[in-house]
């Protein structure tokens, strides 16, 4: 780490001195593009107007459409540098952080709940959000993920490994795919059919992280051992077969230490049916990187750290190019190579000089993604018109402009929210609580407790369970005696639930845990008031549970299920259209309390009201022919026309596409 910091400092100084006489990097990109257009004899597309720019910039950088005020402030400004200034302002806004989170969530498959048993999902999400807010350089985030060690309450980055609990080989495949643009999944079971990788290489690479254990057995828990010793002295058989109540009590107490990422000595062996000449079945595999040189495999450097250093090294031929290309795609809509996570050695690159330059730029900014994006958003290319026709599969896009796309699910949701409520970007959403509640509080509570104290705690818990056995037995007897009367059965079920709840409360008392957490297993903490509950859901997509539940507006519009890397889509479907036409959200926008209606009603006279409506929804004023249509509608429908027009604007396709 120290070495890394000093390296950062040197780079920073170099840049500070070099920066004085250099042109801003966007000029270099402009130059390269112009050179390229001339060589290819293509004409770039025209530059966009301010009104196209303001909408595009807000959607791409802030992840939502601009509000009426934001839009008119920009359009009204006479500042010749207002575009660059808007880019700077948006990059420093909380809206950018929210939008950037969606990108990370798709990439790392972030889930609020990892599973029923595995905690740490929310902690991992919060950690990523903090990294975005602090603008931690990309390579440092990757380093922290790969080398993550400990329990989720100590180091939430351990979520990177816990996300793939029980699947260490898949975890490695994902690492290679995300950070090195290298698809190794095939080589997991056999030599890669159309790439160079062998199965042996797969195993050698996987050997770097195979030692990471995510399911921590009680024997491996330091705190646990003292207590167990104590238990033995007390002649307790705290096991599944022995004193089961005591066993469960220990399980409950040590829950914060049941999952994490712990380095262990666990040799990786070739599979039993290994079929190639370069190794024997069951042979132990030593860690080895698949290309380039491993960074400092000197003595004393654990395999995982040297592996992480190898991945993020500027000398790694893929790491820098892959992230530079991903950022390029994020801004321009298409990568310089595609798919962005399959950078095979013989992949044809249409703009090799540009890709090289972007890699240099990425190392120059020390993997500061915000800084890198700043440059791209300020290029001429970003501010050109987009393609108006499809690009054929056999066609090379010369980047005469960025690529046209539909908004992502999150952009649509966040834009609808912008129309619906005020101060959207600062609202926080409902928190997803986990089975074991606040892990940090639980762990803290254990710290400083002696083995005796923990043992007493366990005994109290076990006694609680035993003491309740009589109650349990009577409930059970009643269940047995009960006839087939559904009402009686329901009554009994209610009593049983009540009993379980009381038991949970008493358990928390013994554990010394605040009653708030833990009780609502896995459910979102919801306000009991339905109105508040609804409004708690009116937040940016990044503040909702990840992913949104099946059937949610976000999922209908293609939000990633966050099960596989970058699994979002922007495909059209009937349920989406039904939601836009008849759904609750469209209805809400027509309501007089919506942000949209309030903005419109502040207009002075009908013309201004219509202007406000168009500016709020589409970031532009109506043109002459549209004004005619509007006038006709008012003639026909009187005051109701306003609602009709509002509905129609939200249901236009220009609303969901980003021209």
């Amino acid at each position: 780490m120290k070495k890394m910091l000093s390296a950062l400092l040197v780079c920073f100084l170099c840049r500070a001195f070099a920066g004085v006489e250099q042109h801003p990097p966007q000029s270099a990109i402009n130059g390269l593009m112009n050179e390229y257009y001339a060589a290819q004899k293509v004409t770039p597309l025209p530059a966009i107007s301010d009104q196209t720019f303001v909408r595009r910039a807000y959607l791409d950088i802030a992840g939502r459409i601009p509000t009426y005020e934001e839009c008119t402030t920009f359009l009204g400004s006479k500042d010749p540098y207002k575009r660059d200034k808007l880019v700077d302002d948006l990059l420093d806004s909380p809206a950018f952080n929210s939008h950037m989170f969606n990108w990370w969530a798709d990439l790392l498959r972030l889930k609020s709940r990892l599973s029923n048993q595995i905690p740490g999902g929310q902690e991992y999400i919060d950690w990523i959000k903090q990294c975005i807010e602090d603008n931690v350089p990309f390579d440092q985030v990757v380093y922290a993920l790969i080398t993550a060690e400990g329990y989720p309450h100590e180091n939430p980055a351990t979520g990177y490994y816990m996300r793939d609990t029980g699947m260490p080989l898949d975890n490695m495949s994902n690492t290679a795919q995300i950070f090195l643009g290298t698809q190794l999944q095939c080589a997991q079971c056999h030599d890669h059919p159309f790439d160079d990788w062998t199965q042996k290489q797969f195993y050698e690479l996987a050997a770097h992280t195979y030692g990471v254990q995510t399911r921590i057995r009680p024997q491996n828990q330091e705190a646990f051992q003292g207590v167990m010793e104590h238990a033995r002295r007390e002649r307790m058989q705290a096991s599944r077969d022995g004193d089961r109540a005591m066993f469960r009590a220990f399980q409950e107490i040590f829950a914060p230490f049941a999952f994490g990422a712990k380095e262990s000595i666990r040799p990786l062996r070739l599979p039993k049916d290994y079929q190639y000449d370069n190794g024997k079945p069951n042979e132990t595999v030593e860690p080895r990187v698949i290309f380039g040189e491993a960074a400092a495999t000197s003595k004393g450097v654990p395999a995982r750290e040297s592996y992480a250093n190898w991945i993020i090294s500027p000398e790694n031929p893929r790491f820098t190019k892959v992230i530079a290309n991903r950022m390029w795609k994020k801004v321009m809509g298409l990568g310089l190579f595609e798919p962005v996570d399959d950078f095979t050695s013989e992949r044809e690159i249409t703009h090799p000089k540009l890709l090289d330059y972007l890699s240099t730029l990425m190392t120059d900014v020390d993997y500061d993604l915000k800084e890198f994006l700043r440059t791209l958003y300020k290029t001429d290319l970003y501010q050109r018109e987009k393609n108006t026709k499809d690009i054929r599969h056999d066609e090379t896009w010369h980047f005469t402009g960025p690529i046209m796309h539909r908004m992502t699910a999150e952009q649509i949701w966040d834009s609808m929210m912008t129309l619906a409520i005020k101060d959207l970007d600062t609202k926080s959403g409902p928190r997803v609580t986990q089975r074991y509640g606040d892990l940090e509080a639980r762990a803290k509570n254990l710290k400083g407790k002696s083995s005796e104290e923990i043992f007493t705690m366990a005994k109290d818990l076990a006694d609680l369970e035993k003491g309740l056995i009589t109650k349990q037995a009577s409930l059970r007897q009643r269940a047995q005696d009960m006839g087939n009367d559904p009402a009686e059965r329901r009554r009994l079920a209610r009593e049983q639930n009540q009993y379980q709840r009381e038991r949970r409360i008493k358990t928390n008392e013994i554990l010394g845990i605040d009653q708030g957490g833990g009780e609502m297993m896995g459910a979102s903490m919801m306000s009991p008031n339905p109105r508040n509950r609804m409004e708690q859901q009116f937040v940016r997509a990044s503040e909702l549970p990840s992913p949104a539940q099946n059937g949610h507006f976000l999922r209908q519009f293609g939000q990633s299920d966050r099960e596989v890397i970058e699994n979002a889509n922007t495909e059209a479907s009937v349920p989406q259209v039904l939601a836009m036409m008849n759904g609750q959200f469209s209805q809400n926008l027509l309501h007089e309390r919506s942000m949209l209606r309030r903005t419109v009603s502040e207009g002075d006279g009908l013309t201004e009201m219509i202007d406000r409506l168009f500016l709020t929804v589409l970031s532009r004023k109506p043109d002459a022919s549209e004004r005619q249509i509007i006038a006709q509608q008012f003639k026909k429908r009187g005051k109701m026309a306003m609602q009709d027009i509002t509905w129609a604007l939200v249901n236009t396709q220009q609303f969901v596409f980003i021209p």
């Binding site: 898949d170 159309f194 299920d561 059209a572 596409f657």
Partner: protein, 424 residues
């Protein structure tokens, strides 16, 4: 062309196609594959798949051990229509018609946790961190197409967030999700204060505002949205929408399926398959009875008993049972041991699923478990085998390879062999 969902062809897809040729596997377009010539199963055109989420206790439903009080707890067994075979007292209606379905008592799964077990049961492949496998509905649509192009090929009713959908296949293979069966297709009705004229008027307005946009942009994706509005409006007005509306059923039928979400979901499933939706899954939650097994299971079993018995009779009387495969599935069974919370824990080594219709020969009990109901001892059926049996009933080509975008080969039911003894 299926107009339910359209998608742009991804560049990734292009690469996949290239990969197919490289690997030398069949790149035949879907729909023109050679049909297997031997069609001993193959009568089913559609599937109603009832999923008992959480792990249905085999002991307290279809595989009781009445002679072993230690494992059976307070539940008694009753006679069934089949000589010598008994079910638990919680499924009396199904016991009385056990000749209408096959009871498979020897399911074995390799997965003992819910998420992994559910995934395996639906996908036939083990859950991995690098890929999502498609569920049966997606496979049916991919290998055999849609039968009613105005409706989705597959629908899930009351499913949780663990639903397995299109997997690596394009999103148009995703099932349509219905939350509450009583509400039908979400957002398919006009809001109360909007009449048809107003609606038409608004659509025209939106079109008019978009005129310039469409003049400028002529992209597959922008056209797809234009078409989708047309399709959605068509659907809102079409008779097909009634398929989603269970209130169109006579009161006595609605009641016969049971006044609960699951029962009404099963009724909705019947309406959908009547309209040629190919795969409908109805989920019944709450089977994860680690606590209070003996008060929870009776309620769940009662819902299943009522809905399934009604469904089988209903399909039979409509002449649909032959062409419709009805499946009852779950991720695993439960332990013979009764724990201190009066519950049963997970047990994937011998559990029960049911099959009916679609060429399945009813009235048989296939496989069995040991005297504790813990391990399958006879005619073990693995999860891929079970799913291959379903696929075979549908006459799907079990060896047809479909490539994932990353170029990995997959087949429906993951090379499982169908259990031919289950067919008539």
């Amino acid at each position: 062309m299926n107009t339910w969902m359209k998608d742009p062809i991804e560049r990734r897809q292009f690469i996949t196609n290239a990969a197919k040729t490289l690997l030398g596997v069949s790149a035949l377009p879907v729909g023109v594959h050679a049909r297997p010539t031997v069609a001993t199963g193959g009568k089913a055109k559609r599937v109603i798949y009832l999923y008992m989420a959480g792990g249905m206790s085999q002991l307290d439903t279809f595989d009781p051990k009445p002679d072993n009080r230690a494992v059976q707890g307070p539940v008694s067994a009753i006679k069934t229509k089949l000589t010598g075979e008994r079910f638990s007292e919680y499924v009396p209606r199904l016991a009385a018609m056990a000749d209408k379905f096959a009871t498979v008592r020897s399911l074995v799964s390799t997965q003992g946790a819910h998420e992994q077990g559910t995934y395996f049961m639906h996908a036939s492949y083990i859950m991995r961190g690098t890929i999502r496998h498609p569920g049966l509905g997606a496979w049916i649509q991919k290998l055999d197409g849609v039968h009613n192009e105005r409706l989705p090929a597959s629908v899930t009713i009351g499913g949780g967030s663990r639903g397995i959908g299109a997997g690596f296949m394009e999103s148009r293979f995703s099932p349509l999700a219905i939350g509450n069966p009583r509400q039908g297709l979400q957002n398919s009705k006009l809001p109360p204060h909007v009449n048809n004229n107003t609606f038409e008027d608004r659509l025209d307005l939106a079109d008019a505002f978009d005129r310039n946009f469409h003049k400028t942009y002529n992209l597959k994706q922008t056209r797809a949205y234009k078409d989708m509005y047309t399709d959605a409006v068509k659907l809102m007005k079409s008779k097909d929408l009634e398929a989603f509306d269970i209130t169109k059923e006579p009161k006595n039928i609605q009641e016969a399926y049971g006044d609960n979400n699951f029962g009404q979901g099963v009724l909705l499933a019947r309406r959908l398959i009547e309209n040629d939706v190919r795969f409908v899954e109805v989920t019944s939650g709450g089977w994860d009875t680690h606590t209070n097994n003996f008060t929870s299971v009776p309620d769940k079993a009662e819902e299943l008993d009522q809905a399934l018995s009604t469904l089988l009779k209903d399909l039979d009387s409509r002449g649909l049972l032959d062409e419709t495969l009805v499946v009852v599935a779950t991720e695993f069974g439960r332990t013979p041991e009764i724990n201190s919370n009066d519950g049963r824990d997970h047990s994937p080594t011998g559990f029960t699923c049911l099959l009916s219709g679609g060429g399945i020969s009813g009235g048989q009990v296939y496989g069995k478990t040991d005297e504790n109901g813990k391990h399958a001892t006879d005619n073990e059926v693995t999860v891929p085998q079970f799913n291959a049996t379903i696929a075979h009933a549908l006459n799907l080509p079990l060896d047809h390879v479909v490539m994932s975008p990353s170029g990995r080969p997959f087949t429906v039911a993951h090379k499982g062999k169908p259990v031919m003894d289950l067919f008539g």
